[in-house]
Symmetry: C3
Subunit: 304 residues, 3 copies
């Protein structure tokens, strides 16, 4: 899990994902010699901060977003939410502006709802700050910021090791309403005729979804995927005796919603482990679910 831990300390707020993208390029370049198949790396200005890996003759893509929630510094060190982070007094943040590195804590006024930070000097307007990493591990659980979505990215990198045919898409702006999935979907649809996508991300523990009961296959959230694709996935997983839970929600969303809105005929399904303490610095995930999740992705990338 060292790789996951490392990625959770990389600064990558929505719209400013260069460090994560560069980390991935370096990691892949160094490690692909040990992979079953060497992928083609696709990135550059046409793809902003995103990255695509193409393995063999792909039929299905995995989307995992590399951006994270955080805060943008406004006027007089006031903080504006970037995406939907929870806010509590004392949460530790970091970032950097023209004058240097920033380590600070949230000061939250419950009455006025005003969010500021305790940094001594005025931070440059527009500077993004993200949660500081604080890894906690027990026998059954890991807990840190940004399980959402470094865990989804980690899952994609693990799948990469044995993948023969498939595409891995590392997307941006997922936490702030999208902005990259449209052109990423366009590229893989037009160039590789890919119409199937799995969304490798993290979801919520709810009354229907429990820790340790397997990774979560979402039948729907605010987005409505084509039912036949969900059924196909459930049938494959059932036929292979894999452990998973089916989620049915009316809110929440993912890169799947962006694929749904794109002018390309994508089938998509969200699959990922559930967590507690969503969008906080202590997102908690069950280790067995992480393991189950990998098994599910492995089989699906073969069978879809």
């Amino acid at each position: 899990m060292e790789l996951l831990k490392k990625m959770q300390s990389i600064f990558s707020p929505s719209g400013e994902e260069e460090s994560m993208r560069n980390f991935l390029i370096k990691y892949i370049s160094e490690n692909k010699k040990n992979w079953k198949k060497k992928p083609k790396l696709i990135y550059g200005e046409e793809f902003q901060n995103c990255l695509i890996l193409v393995f063999g003759k792909p039929r299905c893509a995995i989307f995992s977003h590399i951006d994270s929630i955080g805060f943008t510094v406004g006027y007089d060190n006031e903080l504006l939410r970037l995406g939907g982070p929870i806010v509590e007094n004392g949460i530790k943040l970091f970032g950097e502006d023209s004058q240097g590195k920033i380590n600070t804590k949230i000061i939250y006024n419950k009455k006025t709802k005003k969010i500021t930070c305790d940094f001594k000097r005025k931070i440059d307007r527009g500077t993004n700050l993200v949660f500081q990493s604080n890894w906690k591990e027990t026998e059954n659980y890991i807990q840190n910021c940004y399980m959402d979505n470094r865990l989804g990215v980690w899952n994609a990198l693990k799948i990469a090791e044995n993948l023969l045919h498939g595409i891995l898409v590392f997307s941006c702006w997922e936490e702030t309403g999208g902005g990259s999935v449209g052109y990423l979907g366009k590229y893989i649809y037009e160039k590789y005729n890919i119409k199937q996508a799995l969304i490798s991300d993290v979801t919520w523990v709810t009354k229907g979804i429990k820790f340790g009961k397997g990774t979560v296959v979402s039948a729907r959230d605010s987005g409505i995927p084509r039912r036949s694709f969900i059924k196909k996935i459930i049938n494959i997983l059932s036929a292979n005796d894999l452990t998973f839970q089916i989620e049915v929600e009316s809110s929440g969303g993912s890169d799947g919603n962006q694929l749904q809105k794109s002018p390309f005929p994508f089938d998509w399904c969200f699959i990922g482990p559930a967590e507690k303490h969503v969008h906080s610095p202590k997102e908690k995930v069950n280790k067995k679910d992480i393991f189950y999740n990998q098994k599910v992705y492995e089989i699906l990338m073969k069978k879809l």
Copy 2:
């Protein structure tokens, strides 16, 4: 009206429209020999559950969505809205899961807002349920579930009988925020240079829109079509002495909104009869308005 009645009992919730699509393909294959012009049928995996008919040298398309509102079964037979159905105790639903056919009724707790059903066993998570058909007809009115939008589909099929030049698009996911109009619009724009669309759907009786006063031409709702296209339509209809009403609303939407959001320069106009008891199992429409609606579509497909 037997065709309309039959279509209202076909299971076709948003994202699971295969039965309606297959019914249409069968109906068209059997009936097109009696049509003035044989259309080209376009469907398949590139079009998910949608269907396109191309007649002659098209200049204008009719969009009618084949999906319907309904409910998705969540945890312990709880029901989640699929689109915006009204909810009342006792409303009859049907569907099917891995264990067989389902006929059940809504149980609605007004206090907790919880919606469940009275089915004895646990229904598979993610199963969709839709209203049961209950056709009622008087001299002037018909009443049933899914006027929205089997009536719009029926209208398109009637227009098909005499259509020489035009495109009929049968779209999906209209009730849940879209997902097919983007690529459908892309296809007809890029392949046939179509930039004009009529939205064949059903709207609401309001203080400005009355039963029996003609089909409704919408000048706007939450979506704002190009004014010159609306004027062009009104001018054609006035010059041909057709009976219609002009709607002006600030809420509501249709496949027109999806065309508006697509990266293609579509002009669009919503045209369809008004109903009472919107999104309930007893949507009520005036027969004269249905008749007027056909006349309006007939002339517009010739003149636009």
Copy 3:
């Protein structure tokens, strides 16, 4: 400022921008002989009411929307908001329907929230009405309706005079959720490989943004541009000692949001002067900010 004043009295509500588009075509045709470089004019049915000017070998585009907020006449002279205009008793509006020209005033019932007008006869349903122009000028300020966005358009036309390489895009429907930026972005991306856009529009005076302190470079609003593009712009402006203010907001939006949602990899940044009395007939702007704004655009179109 005669040009700006003139444009503020042109009828151009969202979806009905033909007069503004035609005015621009005429103005450009008459004036381009005095410009450093003659642009290529692109318009017509593929572009609805929009207009594109291409100068030399473009690397960056300026988007300025030519539509305005206003009202649509509903049933019995009731008025529905088109976009988000403020509403007050006595605000003067104008328009035209099939029976002739319309000059009228808003009647607003604060209790019922009903908006009507004092016009004597019934106005055609669907007719759009806009604010009447009432130019006020002092030494430091100008005030009128539709600074938003005739000032952004005016800025683009001033930049045109000396522009060697670049694209000017005049877009529609900005005030009502979009509808043209998708295909405009598609065109300039596919034909000219343009991926950089400046949004020439008007923003708000807030606690962090003051009159006379320079034009506003927005680091974010409801839309989140790529941070590296914002930094690039700030670096260019700082290196050239230009006067500007950095805005950081969580609400508000522009054509930038539409570019962000398009399936093309656009970098974009909102740049424009701040105003008071937003979306009213008396939008107020500081003259120095207008001057600073032009300097900023001039340098950016050279350096980006």
